[in-house]
């Protein structure tokens, strides 16, 4: 399972970085989402991978999974979801105003 999770994080990060470098709004937004998925799984894995184990104290259980990464990842998911919404609205606004979906600033400096 470790190999699967690790390679999933790696592949998604690589794909995300590649998409962000595409310089157009849609691939960049998708790339950002990819990256945030990757980092969420990474955070989740930072408390060690454990299957079928409760995070909260319970009677008669000796093996637990670390609850803190779950709390962290929950926060990170909420934040990245909100941020994605913001960047989608913003890029839509920029697209409507500027008429193209390039992310670079044309001729910056001489305006």
């Amino acid at each position: 399972m470790e190999a699967l999770v690790a390679s999933a994080i790696g592949v998604m990060t690589a794909a995300g970085v590649y998409m962000i470098l595409r310089m157009r709004v849609f691939p960049v937004v998708v790339g950002m989402s990819m990256l945030s998925y990757a980092v969420n799984i990474f955070l989740f894995a930072s408390g060690r991978l454990a299957v079928n184990q409760p995070p909260i104290l319970r009677d008669g259980v000796t093996q637990y999974t670390d609850p803190i990464p779950q709390a962290l990842v929950l926060t990170a998911i909420v934040i990245s979801f909100g941020m994605t919404a913001v960047v989608v609205m913003l890029s839509l606004g920029a697209f409507i105003e500027a008429g193209d979906d390039h992310i670079d600033l044309d001729g910056e400096g001489d305006k």
Partner: protein, 545 residues
């Protein structure tokens, strides 16, 4: 039991969090009440920040446990001299920016300016106060999401395009932050800064490999925020295209990154630890290059706004040269310069914005007919540029002097600071003389009347109060340089005795947690089995994040 004043530590976070929704929900269409409440909130915040600074001067960091959870389990806010200093600086800047936004009418050119401003203050104050690394991330996001709104305030094609770039850059930075925190948590099993500091110090040097990765990732994040080379690319486009008043507020944003570097690399990865020495080695050359890129950028800029934006990069480089020495003298000098450069950058952005409002061709460095209040603005820009370039008599000169004193013996730092100062003087002289002086030589054409005051701006006077107020604060910073330096030395001394901070947060934490659990168990005994109470101190983190 906590008294009223013990709860004051959280006020800089709670107060804006209260005012911002109030403004959105209750006075959405009422600009006048928004303005009144915004100024009131800023004055109130300044008062609180000063009270906290007086409080923090005792030298013992004060700890505020959110929900009264003990330190490594719950989130703590910690008020030490550095946080208090940054809070006061933020509040002063916030007040000036609010006054200017009202005076220039910027707050009426889009929606929700004042509430976004309050949320921004909440994020910045929280970032300065928190004692938990993940909470620092959360407050970074709060201040960023507010800054996205402020950055595109009033809209427009170029601003929106620059805004998208700014947002994407910072989202990538936030992702990096999470990777860094994940790495650190995986190694150390905690994200409380004091607890981390304690545990990092006990770690054998040959096991710090993964931790070093985390530490460097964290430094990259702060470098993005502080606009250190090679992460400075977002800054000029953002600051030039943002509304002038927002650019002035953003003067504190780069300092949030600088604060992060100071905090993390004096407390957690201390300069004498195997992880910390790496930071100093990387930071000094990076700071030098940042300084050169920034100051050369002033000379190369084709408009006034960009010149000021590049000078912000240069000033970050200057202060990092001092801070990256990781000596008490270097830190004291760097902090003195940090306050100076925040005030002067904000003042310059406000002045430049006033020029943009009045000039037909915006900020482009081409000769053009004189505009409204040409002479007055020229004088203000002159004062600001002197401060930013580091010429006497303003505090920039004193700050650079102290930095050079603290880096005695490193000739190339002296050379970099002195030569780039000269370049900055040249750059500002060129920008100022083209915009302000060459105007008198140009022919005034028919129908080429200077721009009138925009109808939504209630008064020029208020805008001038803000800009001149910041310059006066700069003058005060110069006049009271001796007590200011003493305070900075106190801050530095506290930073380099991290044990005080660690013990303030951690001492007795476990004992108190056990006592609380016991008390709870005792209290619950009549109707519950005792082992229910054990749950209390452990699984808490979700509540706070």
């Amino acid at each position: 039991m906590l008294g009223f004043f013990d709860h004051l530590i959280i006020a800089p976070v709670v107060l804006p969090a209260f005012f911002a929704p109030l403004m959105v929900l209750w006075m959405r269409f009422d600009t006048v009440s928004q303005r009144v409440f915004s100024v009131a909130a800023m004055v109130f915040m300044l008062g609180i920040a000063i009270t906290l600074a007086v409080d923090a001067a005792s030298g013992v960091p004060e700890v505020y446990r959110l929900g009264n959870w003990e330190a490594p389990f719950g989130i703590v806010l910690v008020l030490d001299k550095l946080s208090a200093l940054m809070l006061v600086l933020t509040a002063v800047l916030g007040l000036a920016v609010t006054l200017y936004a009202i005076g220039s009418g910027w707050d009426r050119r889009g929606w929700h300016f004042h509430s976004l401003l309050q949320f921004q203050m909440m994020g910045i104050n929280g970032a300065f106060l928190t004692g938990d690394a993940f909470n620092l991330f959360v407050f970074f996001e709060v201040l960023l999401i507010a800054s996205y709104g402020l950055m595109i305030h009033a809209g427009g094609r170029d601003r929106l395009k620059a805004g998208v770039q700014y947002v994407v850059y910072n989202l990538a930075g936030s992702t990096l932050f999470l990777f860094a925190l994940g790495t650190i948590y995986a190694t150390m099993g905690t994200l409380n800064m004091a607890d981390l500091a304690d545990k990092v110090a006990q770690m054998p040097a040959n096991e710090t490999g993964l931790l070093r990765v985390g530490a460097v990732l964290l430094m990259l994040v702060f470098a993005v925020k502080a606009a250190l080379v090679p992460f400075q690319f977002w800054l000029p486009a953002t600051y030039t295209n943002a509304p002038g008043v927002v650019a002035a507020l953003f003067a504190i944003m780069t300092k949030v990154g600088v604060y992060g570097i100071i905090r993390v690399y004096t407390l957690i990865f201390t300069p004498d630890s195997p992880v910390g020495t790496l930071a100093a080695e990387v930071l000094i050359p990076v700071a030098g290059i940042t300084l050169i890129v920034g100051m050369v950028g002033i000379l190369g800029a084709r408009d006034m706004g960009r010149a000021v934006a590049y000078s912000v990069i240069g000033s970050v480089g200057t202060m990092m040269l001092a801070l990256a020495q990781f000596t008490p003298a270097g830190t004291a000098a760097g902090l003195y310069y940090l306050v100076h450069s925040t005030l002067v950058a904000a003042a310059l952005f406000l002045i430049v914005d006033m020029v943009r409002e009045r000039r037909k061709g915006g900020l482009a460095l081409v000769a053009e007919a004189p505009f409204r209040q040409n002479g007055l603005l020229a004088a203000l820009f002159f004062a600001g540029a002197i401060g930013m370039a580091g010429m006497p008599p303003l505090s920039g000169f004193l700050g650079k002097l102290m930095i050079m004193d603290a880096t005695r013996g490193q000739w190339w730092i002296w050379a970099a600071i002195l030569i780039t100062s000269l370049i900055a003087i040249l750059g500002f002289a060129r920008a100022g003389s083209t915009v302000f002086w060459k105007s008198y030589g140009t022919q005034v054409e028919e129908g080429d009347a200077p721009l009138p005051r925009p109808p939504e701006a209630p008064s020029d006077a208020l805008a001038y109060v803000a800009a001149v107020g910041l310059l006066l604060a700069l003058a005060a910073w110069t006049v009271f340089a001796a007590p200011a330096t003493r305070y900075m030395q106190g801050v530095a001394q506290q930073l380099y005795t991290p044990d005080v901070y660690i013990s303030a947060v951690m001492d007795g934490a476990y004992a108190r947690a056990e006592a609380a659990a016991e008390a709870a168990a005792h209290h619950d005994e009549p109707d519950h089995p005792a082992d229910d109470a054990h749950v209390a101190p452990a699984g808490d983190d979700a509540s706070g994040h």
